[in-house]
Amino acid sequence: MAEQPKTEGASPDAMDIKRPITPKPSQGAIDKAAKAWAPLPKRAWDLDKAIHLLRRIGFAATPAMVRDLKGKSAEESVEFLLSRGESFPMPADVQNPERVKAMIQASLDEADAKYRELDTMLDAREAKNMMAKPEDLKLRRYYEGLSRQYTQELANYEGAVFDYYSHDWLNFAAKPENVAQEKLVMFMHNVLVVNCQDGVKGDLKVIYHYQKLLRDGLKGNFIDLCKKMSKSAAMMNMLDLTVNTKLKPNENFSRELMELFILGRDQGYVEHDIKEAARAFTGYKFRPGSFEFYLEQSEVDNTEKTIFGQTKNFNGDQVIDLIFEQDGAATHLVRELCGFYLNSEPIPEPFIHALGQQWREQGFDLPWLFKAFFSSGMFYHSLNRGKLVKSPIDLMIGLSLNLGVGMNPFPRRNAQFLRMMGQEFMNPPDVEGWQGGNEWINNATVQVRRVLIESFFLPVKQNVLTDEEKKVYKKMTYDGERSFHVDKARLDTFSQKENTELVDHLIKFFLPVEPDFKFRRVLISHISKMGDVPRETRIKQVLLALLQSPFYQLA
């Protein structure tokens, strides 16, 4: 960190303070790198690149999605995908959490009753020295576990509502119309991070509104989005803006505004800037119920502040404008964008500056940035293929799309899988967000990923469902039309293809990089084997081996 001014509260001349920043590459290097961001030439656009775009901008590429892009150029495809998204209405359960409570209670009562019934029956058998049937023991354990699950949900039913919200969103995001939009929402949420406090009532509406703010903000420029974000209840809660007052300024928000949201760590600001900026955001409040922003005048610091060497009675919005004038603002979000969508290893700085400079000239317009990014030659370059690790949400939605199978209809099951893989919906561990990349992968999460994949191949056991669960299941399957596991009908879409054609199809759509030719041969010969095991089973085995392989975890 640079030297601090000697006296607290003195207004140092900005010229005397050295603000740390990573040195800018030479303009020559930047100009050279700019070529990489030029749009992909029309002649270079092909099926392979369309699949890459769909996989990266959303969660997976399917033949149907590829057909939607037929006849379009790279730029047209990107524009098409980015403009399709629908609006996401507030889930009924978030609007009315009491309804969820009633549903959970009903299920709990039923699970308890079934458990007691079995327990009594088994005790009676034991009393007569009769052997218990293993299925009965297993079933009793199951209802015991179910009862435990629902008891916990009831005690913490705001948490259960959260799982329902997560579930509704997952299904919304998995629709081909919404994949690109929602992935961008995930990206932006991982930059302007808020998380959910432990099931505090009312929080979910706040989180819903924040997600909507991000979704709507993607259509405008980043400066406006940051201003709106600073006045959202979710962010005000997250970074203590509601307790930031003239008498007791709180620097939490102004620090992250510079370090994590707009400029990047140690990119052109010092402690003094943070301290002074904090005072411009004093008096920020929101009304309970409507979450509408207002200024509590008695707490607002209406005196002069000196930030980045400029002295004025700045308010919050003006501070944000000022931060965007600093050099770091052009490159920070670009760096984040590349880390999220392009390559988990850092891209050389000249490329970052090249795109950033153009973005600043465009007034930090987000649609411009996304369009330029996704239709550039850089985005399709072979060095950037297969360099991302799928997040748990990427994996779950991607599996659903690749297999043509709906996601499990029981909210808590999906939520549990995501938690065990390390990504609770809208709830990263802290304001830095999820680091992604290798951090998603360790011994435990690998096991969970494999189990998740296997679960797409297992049908739901109807006879253990409670009445409440049966209702849910019936609704979600549209009375049997939609499937939640790879059943015969789903498998037919694969098994209809001839062996070599099938393996090539799977490799093309499922894997981000061409595997070793030996692997392709191994797969083809496996399906072709004659013997006791039917061809359909062999195809399932190949699907499982592909999906559970490290290749499939990459994007």
């Binding site: 029981f410 360790n442 049908p459 056991k461």
Partner: protein, 424 residues
């Protein structure tokens, strides 16, 4: 609530450069399971003889504390439990005795290696197995993380990229005790066996079958040739996970304890823990469970048998560790989600109660009977009360273990800062 970042949190760039360093070692060597790969092991947390290990034993079902730690001086104990009261016991203190089924535990007590903490619970105790267990596992009355999970988040930030697990559960899932905000390398025998999913109806030749595993291993071997660090890291993690189960099973199968373990199935799980400790795993926390304590009817024989198993297993465990010079590294804590009521019921059993004793074992323990003293049973209604004077909040026990044994700062892990006790 403030969500300030911890000072050691890193930016994406810094994180990436360190993980790239780690993975590049892997990409230079052709794939081999990391347990066997010396160069990679050099990157890992090397287990040292100072490694402090905590073993957690969950006595599931609600252990009858009054018949385990017997208040032999209290007349009401005998009058309120005419059939179940234990008339003989191993003496612990002036007012307390240990159930006769626990000679091994008593021996440890005499060697100053066992602490008993009486009347452990929390305000307004819950009598539902599930809710009460969750409270003990979370170390909190509400939430989504476990107390060990929070410890891992605070004290072991980088385990996600380590090859070997930092916490191990001898069961089929990740216990709530281990649930954390960040991902950690935690091992347990996770399986797709969730009776919600139909497993009986599918082809026997399908999931987890030899052929799929073979194909999977082929793909991993081939993918390890991909020339960038993320892919290399992925391949080795995948192979590790696949091989982990095989490795773990191999470690268990090849382990030779000093003497055969007593204690049935629970003894077996402690033997497995000893096997992993002896192998030198850097694991800090182990979780085990002994079930069956929900003795609503015909308690006498069943409870005695369970206590005998538990005592025999723990005795064998520490004898075994001692014979290998590992006992000083290991402290074991046993808890139950609640105790049982004072009066026996009509079926010669007892019903769900409130507070219960906790036990801590190991050479580092300061032996003795802890807690605020003895409750006069004649003054009690149906239950032992929880109050601050004679009771101990279970979070205080956790705090003591975290601070005094694991060397962690527990001040942010519970709803408030609890004062550590002196049993370790």
């Amino acid at each position: 609530m403030s969500k300030q970042r911890k000072p050691e949190a890193r930016t994406r760039r810094e994180f990436m450069s360190s993980s790239v360093k780690g993975a590049s070692l892997l990409s230079m060597a052709s794939y081999a399971p990391s347990f066997l790969q010396q160069t990679v092991n050099a990157q890992n947390l090397t287990p040292s003889s100072d490694q402090k290990i905590l073993v957690i034993v969950q006595m599931a079902g609600g252990n009858d504390g009054l018949n385990t730690v017997i208040p032999f001086e209290d007349d009401a104990y005998y009058s309120r439990r005419p059939n179940l009261a234990q008339k003989k016991y191993h003496q612990l203190g002036d007012y307390t005795g240990l159930n006769l089924a626990c000679p091994e535990m008593h021996k440890m007590y005499e060697n100053d290696e066992m602490a008993v903490i009486q009347n452990v619970g929390y305000p307004n105790p819950n009598r539902s197995h599930f809710r009460a267990t969750d409270i003990y596992e979370m170390g909190s009355l509400k939430g989504r993380t476990g107390w060990v999970g929070r410890y891992l988040d605070a004290a072991c930030p980088n385990t996600a990229s380590q090859k070997q697990p930092v916490a191990v559960n001898m069961g089929k899932s990740i216990p709530m005790t281990f649930w954390s905000m960040r991902t950690h390398n935690v091992y347990s025998k996770i399986s797709a066996d969730n009776t919600l999913m139909e497993t009986a109806a599918v082809d026997k030749n399908m999931l987890g079958d030899k052929e799929t595993l073979g194909l999977l291993k082929d793909s991993i071997q081939l993918s390890s040739k991909m020339d960038h660090s993320t892919a290399a890291y992925l391949s080795s993690s995948f192979m590790d996970a696949l091989v982990s189960k095989e490795k773990m099973d191999a470690i268990f199968d090849s382990y030779r304890p000093g003497k055969a373990y007593k204690g049935g199935g629970f003894g077996k799980s402690l033997e497995h823990v000893a096997a992993l400790i002896a192998k030198g795993l850097p694991t800090r926390v182990y979780y085990t469970k002994i079930g069956g304590f929900d003795t609503h009817a015909d308690q006498a024989q069943r409870h005695g048998k369970l206590l005998a198993h538990m005592s025999g297993a723990i005795g064998s465990f520490y004898d075994d560790l001692k014979s290998k010079g590992l006992d000083k590294q290991v402290t074991t804590m046993a808890f139950s989600e609640f105790g049982r009521r004072i009066d026996e019921n009509g079926s010669n059993g007892t019903d769900h109660g409130t507070v219960a004793p906790m036990f801590v074992f190991g050479p580092n323990v300061n032996g003795g009977v802890y807690g605020g003293g003895n409750i006069k049973l004649a003054d009690c209604g149906g239950d032992l009360p929880f109050n601050q004077e004679v009771g101990t909040d279970f979070r205080q026990v956790y705090t003591t273990l975290l601070e005094n044994w694991m060397g962690a700062n527990s001040s942010k892990m519970f709803d408030k800062k609890y004062e550590a006790m002196s049993f370790i």
